[in-house]
């Protein structure tokens, strides 16, 4: 109850707390905030990846050739980590096949291809008459059905997060509208124009996780949004907190530190200390799901960058292609040098423009040579320690870099490599232009591969030992039979045969039995591994990216 004490007693004078490290960056936000939030015309073709976030596919329940209506369920949540997917508009499912999605490798994921019929016929939505009458489990169920995942960038399924929170009990719900990365202004635009809805969404989330307190957090330089929010919060129990500008104060772990002064234990969820963090966009999606009865089929996406003539925030249908959006903004192709989805510090560079907007795509940046000069060549690390000053996890990036170069993973682990949230503050300040995050990512991948290998070899070793054990056991039993046989020449073959056949029967029975057991065990193990994998991916992504 340390948190409650803090909230009641000392928060007023001490909060917001300072986070470790951090950097100051130029904001580049005003240009996309000049125009109002705009809906996007319906494109002819939508591509809907079955996995919107963590790489865990939802299960498609439509087939190629089906005619679907807006808001119709296309794929339902399957394994943990997946979220339901709904049709953003009416039309024909032309195929369910692989397509390139917005990740840095340009990898292929299974997607539902939807040919719009232009009519935009929707199935009847069932607005919740009074969400206050619902208990938290019903709210949770509605949120899950609406296919809502963290819209700030990490994409962890919201319902799962809420249920995690229910287990441990939540003292504080934080609605994160900090948006500390440069260029991104989706949350700011959303709050500026639809602040009241965000507040309602936050109230629904608050009752869904039974939190006793709820705070909406913004950076203090967002005057318009703060004003709108203050108006919306007049009759609400939800509080508003503003944080000094800085990066990465909007990271999940950092915002918790800034608001409460507490740290999320390493390798644990925020829920374990009684805190849940949701992005403002997620709160808005919850509002839409509950009050309008509409599932999550669109999101606010910032389109910005110097090559765009009219940068703005769009209410984008999920599945709209990036090139379609850029054309709407009038892109100057001669100045366009690349595209980032997400922010310039944690985002990924798209290998092609022909990728769909996903539920996690909060920002699309058209890069220009002026704003994103080509990377300077990497020089030697002089251990100046700027990176350690900037690191919000208080790691020693200069040491991790040396260990990563030496592939000294024991030291990497001892120096907390896996506590790195990959925010990129270290690489941003590095005067030698070392792509530090890239080094850490590859070290992490190496360590994971190593551990997989280790587990595998342990597995085979165990198998071998069991094999040896069985052989030895057989050999131990064999002399018995031999000696039994050797007692005297058998007069009659019959009993022996009978014996044998009975023994054989036993054996086969035993084999069948053990096979079934093994099958069951394997199935269980697979389920466990999947659950863990989903949880793990979620943790490593949410850690860093729950900001927006």
């Amino acid at each position: 109850m340390r948190l409650v004490n803090r909230l009641l007693g000392r928060r007023s004078d001490r909060a917001p707390y300072a986070i470790f490290g951090g950097i100051a960056t130029d904001a580049y936000k005003t240009r996309s905030l000049r125009s109002r939030l705009m809906p996007v015309p319906i494109p002819e073709k939508l591509v809907l990846p079955l996995s919107q976030n963590l790489g865990v596919d939802a299960i498609a329940i439509v087939e190629a050739g089906d005619l679907v209506q807006k808001f119709q369920l296309l794929a339902e949540a399957g394994e943990p980590g997946s979220v339901a997917l709904h049709a953003p508009t009416s039309g024909l499912v032309s195929s369910i096949s692989n397509a390139t999605v917005a990740d840095e490798f340009g990898s292929q994921r299974l997607c539902i291809h939807l040919q719009s019929d232009g009519e935009n016929r929707a199935i009847e939505t069932v607005p919740e008459a009074d969400y206050r009458a619902l208990d938290h489990l019903q709210l949770l169920e509605r949120i899950e059905r609406a296919g809502i995942c963290g819209l700030g960038g990490a994409g962890f399924p919201s319902a799962q997060k809420l249920s995690l929170g229910m287990k441990s009990g939540i003292d504080l719900l934080i609605i994160n509208a900090v948006e500390c990365e440069p260029f991104i202004s989706a949350d700011e635009a959303l709050i500026r124009e639809r602040g009241a809805s965000v507040v309602v969404g936050a109230e629904i989330l608050k009752s869904a996780c039974l939190a006793s307190n709820c705070i909406i957090v913004l950076q203090e330089d967002r005057a318009d949004a703060i004003e709108a929010l203050k108006k919306a919060l007049e009759n609400s129990s939800i509080e508003l907190m503003t944080l000094a500008a800085g990066y990465p104060v909007g990271g999940e772990k950092q915002i918790i530190q800034a608001v409460t002064g507490m740290e999320v234990p390493s390798h644990a969820y925020p829920a374990s200390i009684g805190v849940l963090v949701f992005n403002a966009g997620t709160a808005y999606a919850v509002y839409k799901a509950m009050v309008d009865g509409e599932p999550c089929v669109s999101r606010i996406t910032t389109l910005t960058g110097a090559p765009l003539q009219t940068p703005k925030n769009f209410e984008t249908l999920i599945g709209t292609s990036v090139s379609f959006l850029f054309d709407l903004c009038g892109i100057d192709t001669t100045r366009h040098t690349g595209t980032i989805v997400g922010g310039p510090l944690m985002g990924i560079q798209l290998p092609t423009l022909d990728v769909p907007v996903m539920k996690t795509s909060n920002c699309l940046i058209a890069m220009s040579a002026a704003e994103f000069p080509p990377d300077e060549p990497e020089l030697a690390c002089i251990r100046c320690g700027f990176c350690a000053e900037a690191c919000p996890a208080r790691l020693l990036p200069q040491q991790l870099y040396a260990f990563s170069r030496a592939h000294d993973h024991e030291q990497n682990l001892a120096h907390g490599l896996f506590d790195c949230i990959e925010c990129g503050a270290c690489a941003y300040v590095c005067p030698s232009h070392i792509p530090l995050v890239q080094y850490y990512r590859s070290s992490k991948a190496e360590i994971r591969a190593q551990q997989r290998r280790q587990l595998q070899s342990q597995h085979w070793q165990r198998q071998f030992q069991q094999h040896q054990y069985r052989i030895k056991k057989q050999q131990d039993e064999a002399p018995h039979q031999i000696s039994g046989d050797a007692v005297g020449p058998l007069k009659d073959d019959e009993p022996d045969k009978k014996n044998r056949s009975r023994e054989d029967g036993d054996k086969t029975e035993a084999v069948v039995f053990s096979r079934e057991r093994a099958k069951r065990e394997i199935a269980e193990a697979v389920a466990r591994v999947r659950a863990r994998k989903a949880g793990h991916i979620a943790s490593s992504r949410t850690d860093a990216k729950s900001d927006g």
Binding site: P265, P344, P351, L396, L413
Partner: protein, 372 residues
């Protein structure tokens, strides 16, 4: 329809701050200017000649070493690190040191102490101090003989130290190719050699600066005796500039200065004829300031964690005072810094900060708690 973005995928972050290593190094050199200028004013062109000699040789040696190691010469020369090493080495050398002395030292610094260890960032020891210590141990007499042109010591001598003749004399002392120094002025060498500026009576006495002030002697006349104190103040200004520009952190210099002050206060013996001088003279009567702000803060060979830097500074401060007072070397900075370099890796390991989300006691090595 659109231009395809470049195929090379760059890892985040895609934006960077404008600081670069080459610029940082240049700023370090710029911060040396007040100190170097003062030293030149008081000790003559010899100071500048040392720096120029060292710098030109360092660049050539660095280029050769990079070539031998198969690195991009232009790119790596642009980090300016060799220049910084050369400037610090040149400052440490006694004015009027022979060219071969400078060459030997800078060769050891650049080639042996830096490139043989793997180049910039890999050297365990401060290259400039490695070169200096090698010379100090091998050529103790030459390294403690200061050759200072005439009028620095003797007002109204036949020519000014800053005239062409003075420059010629300085050049001839360093590089006999320009002619023999004795020929131009027979008594110059004998008359101008000093054992070391940090002589015992100075440390035992009071501030020459204050004395000159009281006596009404202009501080900028070269016979005021206030040279060392003003030179140190020059380096102090440069050092504060570096801290202000956030190029060095305050931890190392502050720890060194605090330790030296504390030790010299503790052992201060006003009536002793030995060198248990006042704290002021320990800070400003020798090379303490350049050591604290410029040499010990070489990031490559220093400790890099915050607490590590403080312990590192304390170790160096103790060594500066200890070696100076109880050892045989009055200018103990180089040894002290090398001692600190020895300790730095262990300090860094022991002083790791508590990582976000780790308990107070979880600083031990975690085994294999990483998720698969």
């Amino acid at each position: 329809m659109q231009t395809q973005p470049s195929a090379i995928v760059i890892s985040s972050p895609m934006q960077h701050s404008q600081r670069s290593t080459g610029r940082l190094m240049l700023l370090v050199i710029a911060a040396c200017i007040p100190g170097v200028a003062t030293a030149t004013w008081y000790f003559g062109f010899g100071v500048l000649i040392n720096i120029m000699l060292a710098a030109s040789m360092a660049i050539v040696l660095e280029a050769c070493a990079l070539k031998l190691r198969g690195r991009d010469i232009r790119l790596h020369l642009s980090d300016n690190s060799a220049l910084v090493t050369a400037v610090l080495f040149g400052i440490a050398m006694p004015p009027g040191a022979s060219w071969w002395l400078v060459a030997m030292g800078i060769f050891f610094a650049i080639v042996i102490a830096k490139h043989i260890y793997g180049g910039l960032g890999q050297n365990l020891f401060n290259p400039a101090m490695c070169g200096y210590v090698l010379l100090l141990l091998s050529f103790p007499v030459e390294m403690t003989s200061w050759h200072i042109p005439n009028d620095v010591l003797v007002d109204g001598s036949s020519f000014s130290a800053f005239s062409l003749a003075g420059l010629r004399q300085s050049l001839m002392v360093s590089m006999p190719v320009f002619g023999s120094a004795q020929m131009s002025s027979p008594d110059s060498i004998d008359g101008l050699a000093m054992a070391t500026p940090l002589i015992e009576f100075q440390m035992a006495g009071t501030s020459a600066l204050l004395a000159a002030w009281d006596a009404g002697v202009s501080l900028f006349s070269r016979d005021s005796g206030a040279a060392w104190e003003l030179v140190n103040m020059g380096y102090l200004c440069g050092g504060l500039f570096l801290i202000y520009k956030r190029i060095i952190s305050w931890h190392i210099p502050c720890a060194i200065i605090a330790t030296v002050t504390m030790m010299s206060t503790l052992f201060y013996a006003p009536d002793s004829s030995a060198i248990y001088g006042t704290p002021y003279l320990h800070l400003f009567g020798s090379a303490t300031m350049i050591g604290a702000f410029f040499i010990a803060t070489d990031p490559v060979s220093a400790a890099t964690t915050v607490r590590g830097k403080i312990y590192y500074g304390i170790i160096i401060g103790l060594a500066i005072y200890g070696i100076r007072v109880w050892g045989s070397y009055l200018d103990s900075i180089a040894f002290a810094v090398l001692l600190g370099n020895f300790c730095a890796p262990a300090l860094d390991y022991l002083c790791r900060p508590r990582i976000y989300g780790h308990g107070k006691k979880s600083r031990s090595v975690p085994t294999t708690e990483v998720e698969p």
